[in-house]
Every structure is written in C-alpha cells, then in structure tokens.
Amino acid sequence: MVSRYFTDRLAKRSITLLGVSSILIMGLIVVFIVHEGMPAFREVGLFNFIFGTEWRPSNGQFGIWTMILGSVAVTLGTLVLVLPLGIGCAILLAELAPFRIRSVLRIIVETIVGIPSVVHGLVGMALFVPFIRNTFGGSGYGILPAILVLTAMVLPTVVSITEDNIRSVPGGYKEGSLALGATHWQTIWHVQLPAARSGIGAAIVLGVGRAVGETMAMIMVIGNSPVVPHSILSQARTLTGNIAVEIMYATGLHESALFATGVVLLVLIMIINSCAFILARKGKSYA
C-alpha cells in the first residue's frame, strides 16, 4: 500500500535532487571562475584587460586582445575549411555513395571522432609544421597548422550530425521534388539541404564551439606568441592556450588574470551557443 505511492515519490524526489545538484554544480563552477578572475578585472580594468595588446604578467601588463584575435582567426579559418568539406562529405554519405563505401566511410569518420586531441596535435607537430616551414619558410608554427589540425578534429562531428539531419528530412520531400522533374542534384541543393538547415547550423555551431575550446592540440602547433596575428602564417596564442601554457607557475594577479581569461572564454561560448539557439529556432520556422 505504502510502496507504490512511496516509490513514485522517491523517484520524483531523486530526479529533482539530481537535477538541482547538477544545476548547482554548474552554477558554482561559474561563480568560482568569476570570483577568482575578479581581482584581475578590478586591478586591470575590464576595458584594458580585453582590449590591451600587451601581455607581460611580470610587468603587470594584462591585455588579452591578441589572444581573442588568435582564437577568432583560428575559428574562422577552420569554419572556411569545414563548411564545404563537412557538408560535401555529409551529402556524399547520405545520398550519393553506394552502401558499401558509405559504411566504410562512416566507420572511419566515427573513429576519428574518438581520437584524443593530443594525438591530433602530435600529427600537426610532426606533419603540418615541418611541411609549412619547408613550403613557406618561417618557423612553421602558427595559425595555418592550427586551422589544419582543428579542421581534422571538427570535421567528423560536423559530417555525422549533418548526415543525420539530411537523412531525417522526410522522404516525401525528395520524392515530391523528383516527381516534379527536378534532378537529383537540384533536389539535394534546393530541397533537402534547406529542409535540414537548422540541424546543419547546429552542427556547425557545435564545431565552432569545439574550435574555440580546443586547447592541447592548439598549444602544440600555434607557437603561443601573444602578438596580433598579421597573416595566416603568423604565430598566435588562443585564449585557451593562454590558460594552459601559463597556469602551471602562475601566482597572485597573474593567476587571477588567467581565470579572467576563462571568464572571457565563457562569455564567448555563451554567445556562440545563443547563436546556435537562434539559428535552430529560425530553421524550424522555415521547415
């Protein structure tokens, strides 16, 4: 008599407890990062911190503008490569490739998703950096190898999500289009892709989020120089790289400035996720 009612309540309460705890944990992490970063914001000033171009902790100069530019440059460059490659590969997998090739390709794509980023970084260091040095001169470290490594890392995610979305477009759309006399390519380009737009947008934003957040592979190939990048070959430092490279021995205000870098990163990710949200909603109203 007691048991059924009690079990129901127990389940409900447990779920509530788990939910509340997870929200609380996330909230506390944010509070902690902001709290630790506060001294730097107060000491340096928000404007000087974000738009300052000199990063010299030992001289008390904490400007992360060069790193914001570095992160943006790497992310945009990755996007330029991932967009055509990712969507193209997804169309191939979803529509064009014969079944056997498709299954082999899918296994490859899914395996690459599981490769840890440090391995990607290693490949970049051993392959891309010397190649770029021998082709273009300079040190070989910089934005270009970072973009290549990131593309390899992000591509599988974008491909598999995009493919799923193209596949989930109702079969009637395709049949209708073909029945009206459109070619296969016209159907893909004018019917299936637009219908899958929201999902593709979400996949790309997910990729962008990963690109902004990637750390280990970046610090291995980008050179970590806090300078304004002037070309695709110049060295740079990303926001994540700044934290990872310097947190080991940082103390005092320097440490706080690294936490403040984390706050900026958090805000950046929030903006990107909001874009994804807006994009997804727009896409839905279209389809």
Binding site: F6, R9, R13, T16, L17, V20, S21, L24, I25, L28, I29, F32, H35, E36, E54, W55, R56, P57, S58, N59, T66, M125, V129, P130, R133, G137, G138, S139, G140, Y141, I219, G223, N224, S225, P226, V227, Q235, R237, A244, V245, E246, I247, M248, Y249, A250, T251, H254, E255
Partner: protein
C-alpha cells in the same frame, strides 16, 4: 508529511556537502595553485619539527613536506629517497608547483621546505636560502646551425627581438626563430636575470612559447634556425649548445664559474631550520647528498 521533511533534509545535506567540497577546493588551490600531482595532502597543523634531535639517528621519525620548483623536484625526490633509506621512519612529501609557489608556501608555512630554481625577487619575502646545487642554462640551437658561439650581448639582443637575422651574428641569411619558456617559469626568470639583465629588455612576444624544458628541446631540435634556452639537465645530442663569450657549455666550466649562465637551486625555509628539517637539509649539503646532485647532472653547491 514525515517523508517530505526527510527528503527536504536529505536534499539540504547533499547540497551542503556539494558546496562544501567545492569551497574546500577553492581554498586549497590558493596556496599551491596547480601543484603537480600532490602525492599526499599536507595538513596545515603538521609542525615542521616533530621529532626530538636527541633521539638516535635510526629512530629519527616524522614528516617533511617540500613544494616548489619543478627543476628541483626530481633532485629533491632523489635526495628524499636516499634520506629515507637512512631513516626509514621519516616521511617526505615532494610536490611541484614552480619557484613562486615554493617561495609562497615556505613563507606561509604550508610546507616545511620551499624550492626555487632562481634568486628570490625583491618583491618576495625574505627567506633563509640553502643552496643545495647549481644548474647551468645552456643556449641551444638546431644541430644543423653553422653558428657555434655567441656573446651574452648577442643572446640578449636575439631574445629581445632586436637581432632577427642569423646573418647579423655570423650565420646564414635567415630569420631567427626564438623559442622561450612562458611567463612564470623559474628557468625563464633565471635566464632573464642573468642574460637579459635586471633592468634589461623583455623577451620578445614574437617568440614561440613552450610550457616546459622538454617541449623547448623538442621544438629547437625540430626547427632549423631556432634558438632556445635549456636547463643543463635536459641537454643531449639532439640540440647544439652554444659557447657563450667563448666559454664551452660544460658542467666543468659551470662548476669553475667560467661559464656565465649558472643559477642556484635553493631549499627555502622561513626560519633557520631545526630538528628533522635541519637534518634533511644538512644531508643534502653533505658529501652523500652532493654525490646525488652530481649524479643527477647538476653542479655541486660549492
């Protein structure tokens, strides 16, 4: 009704537990930020001198905690295990964290002994320094580089970014790739003090920054036309060490004082050491301890 209150109290307990764990983390990270793999947590109440000195040596017991420079860390670990072989009842905890953490935690008493691989800065608290060893810093280039020696002045200008082409120092006509450690590194601080000068120029931000001696070595050995600096302990035949002011970069020259870039490795204590801590530091300075120092590729303290 009763069930409801029970659940609410359970939730509250869980939340309290969760938050206290998080708060605890934040407090712990303040004295020793990102200490590398603490093998045991030092309790703040452990007294530095927990054993009577009058006891016979085999019965010496107690706990010593050390934290700081990652350059000193492997040496301190070797010294500690030799010390433990002699006095089995003594427990020694060695942690990393960097020279600044070593200074900080020795000063606020988090550890009995701090470790630093550079001179203390004027902004840092005055501590008792025990030079347990010395370490040379080598200026290294890619093994294919035709330049085999530089003056300190040239090294300074290269790292400051005012010399950017190898042809300016007798090498090929090609851009110099400067490789440096990141801000906060003790090796970098020692290099800055001894080569760049206390009021000298900063290391150029166009340099490649790598977060450890090992990565610096790999970067230099893999990049023709690069130049970097390395602790003597990391030297091997994958990179070429330059002569500085005409002096070959060897442990012998550094020990004699002719090689110009040598830094002290310090054990730091807040007060003059007593008891167990003193015994340990004396052991490090003894003939046995200094033999370990040489075995590890460092230079004897005197």
């Amino acid at each position: 009704m009763k069930v409801k209150t029970l659940w609410i109290s359970l939730i509250l307990v869980a939340l309290l537990l969760g938050s206290s764990v998080l708060v605890g983390c934040s407090e712990e990270s303040t004295p020793v930020p990102a200490a590398t793999s603490p093998s045991s947590i030092s309790s703040p109440t452990s007294s530095p001198t927990s054993s009577p000195t009058s006891a016979p040596s085999s019965k010496l017991s107690g706990k010593i905690t050390e934290a700081g420079s990652t350059t000193v860390q492997p040496l301190a670990e070797k010294l500690a295990s030799a010390f433990k072989a002699k006095y089995p009842k003594v427990e020694i905890t060695i942690q990393g964290g960097g020279s600044s953490v070593g200074v900080k935690s020795a000063n606020n008493g988090t550890v009995d002994i701090g470790a630093a691989s550079r001179e203390l800065k004027e902004s840092e608290p005055a501590l008792v320094t025990h030079c347990i060893a010395r370490d040379g810093i080598a200026i290294v280039v890619h093994s294919s580089n035709s330049v085999s020696g530089l003056t300190k002045e040239q090294v300074r200008n290269i790292f400051a970014g005012s010399i950017t082409n190898w042809s300016e120092v007798g090498g090929p006509d090609a851009t110099i790739v400067v490789v440096s450690r990141e801000e906060g590194s003790g090796t970098r601080a020692a290099f800055e003090e001894m080569v760049m000068g206390k009021k000298g120029p900063d290391i150029t931000n166009s340099a490649i920054f790598q977060p450890s001696n090992g990565v610096v070595k790999n970067t230099v050995s893999g990049t023709p036309l690069s130049i970097g600096f390395l602790s003597f302990g990391y030297l091997d035949n994958t990179v070429k060490a330059l002569t500085i002011d005409g002096i070959t970069c060897t442990v012998e020259n550094a020990a004699q004082g002719t090689y110009p870039i040598v830094r002290p490795l310090y054990f730091l204590t807040k007060e003059e050491p007593e008891g167990l801590v003193k015994t340990f530091i004396d052991f490090a300075l003894s003939a046995d301890g200094q033999a370990i120092v040489e075995e590890e590729g460092y230079i004897k303290s005197r």
